[in-house]
Symmetry: C2
Subunit: 341 residues, 2 copies
Amino acid sequence: MSNLTLALDAMGGDFGPHVTVPAALQALSHYPHLNIVLVGDRIAVGEQLRRHNATESPRLQLLHAEQVVPMTERPVQALRTRRQSSMRLALDLVRDGQADACVSAGNTGALMAMAKVVLRTLPGIDRPALVATLPTTNNRPVYLLDLGANVVCDSETLFQFAVMGSVLAERVGRRKRPKLALLNVGSEEIKGNDQVQQAAQLLQATPQLNYTGFIEGDGIFTGEVDVIVCDGFVGNVTLKTTEGIARLLLDQLRQSVKGSVLAQCLAWLLKGRLRKLNQQMNPDQYNGASLLGLRGIVVKSHGNADQTAFLRAIEEAMVEVERQVPGRIKDRLESVLLDKS
Amino acid sequence: MSNLTLALDAMGGDFGPHVTVPAALQALSHYPHLNIVLVGDRIAVGEQLRRHNATESPRLQLLHAEQVVPMTERPVQALRTRRQSSMRLALDLVRDGQADACVSAGNTGALMAMAKVVLRTLPGIDRPALVATLPTTNNRPVYLLDLGANVVCDSETLFQFAVMGSVLAERVGRRKRPKLALLNVGSEEIKGNDQVQQAAQLLQATPQLNYTGFIEGDGIFTGEVDVIVCDGFVGNVTLKTTEGIARLLLDQLRQSVKGSVLAQCLAWLLKGRLRKLNQQMNPDQYNGASLLGLRGIVVKSHGNADQTAFLRAIEEAMVEVERQVPGRIKDRLESVLLDKS
């Protein structure tokens, strides 16, 4: 396997270097072909390196950044005033070819805005999309996009999302001719708003994509399709609803086994399983979400990711580099558009 | 308590009179002030009455209907061709003052279209909305609307939904000054699309409503607010997502206790609780959904409702009659609009 280099925003997320540095060290020891550039405050990152008995090396470099993007800063503000931030410098490394991908657990809005400006979108892509996987009953996670990068989308944008999601499912998810659906309020052809209706027409006219029709909210989790496309408003509400309902159900199950000793044993038996389910229901927290449609790879880890979760985001970035996701999206889009013209 | 009369679409739903007739009989025996008109095929309904040793009486009348609205028929088609259907005649009874409310488990789209034409909307209301409750961690169900009656909504429509939802929460849910939120992709003021942004401004300028701001998908289930407003596209996807994820979680929990005998015993102990959770996660199936904003009361029971679920829908309609929901919506709207002018 050829070497690859990741730029990590070491300061991003709720725990900054406390999580990113040990996750980076773990990744380096797991993957001999991996190099990492830790971008962040020299002192804070250095302290964590020392704590883990690690030093800079050809495989582990430290790039000092004067600034940090606060978690609550508005994207436009961050874009204008945080040119020396760890997030921005990590993206610059990808743009300049010094890193193959960037991973950050920082401010999502700022990351999307900066990534769009620094890396720019692929030809034919108007807007990048945020994508993550959700669990299904048949254990084949489904790719859902957009998760909130674009609250308003026209049919052309939804079509581009469909191309990007299909490529990701094929290259990273190893699905052959991934089944694709549009999220809608009914599965009948007449249902939905104009954007969804028109996107359906575009997709039906594109044999390179395996478009199967509309799917409703309860169809997300059945595993009947591989990729589901919707605008960022609907996608974000869906993702957060999933997290909320999972928390409610697990909470109520815990409540319901209080009291009975036998039931407490069950709760104990189920504990690991409940934790795993809870993680699955928080996909962006657990596996990281990817920004698709850029001339570079950017993986967003959840702000309160722990070491394991941040390591997962690193691994996601590695796979996307190895499978050349942006290049494949560009190729697929070109072939689709060529066929249409 | 003064007498009240419900018109039941006896033919609606997957099981028609097999469910609606016994549910009606049960309701009549529970509530001495209740009268019911069963609207449906004379023979099919009569057969179910005989099976339950019941006959027509001053409290239980049968109104023959020649037609039934098929579950999959398009609303416009039903509107045009089903003027003698059980659904349509039940709505006519409400319009003519012969019944105080209508309950149907039939085709949702057809019911909404017919109800709008037959009963018409209240003054100041552009479109009726579909509303149901979702469970929360603090056991105070939250009212969510619109659930799919209107896939595209402008800010004015969202504002009207807020008024209607607040009145329902106050009158039926017994909440004092119900807390109201708009469903959005972030809780910060700058987030969301134009409709949501403008609706927020309208709500902030309306002291008669207890508007608390934006809420995200995971906030639906925390019980922090009483009423959540969104367009019918988002609401429908949210409701269906809730049902889907609940099914997935319960399925996976069942899978995870397979094998171990102890765990199986405990699963058996939890069975009732799991069923209850499952019902809560399917609110329109369990309690019925209400059509708000009409000059009359219409409750929609889920198509595959069993006797208990249909009885719940009957009870919901009774409470809405007793608490005079449409009149209160009209009053509230008038006072809000008067204050604004």
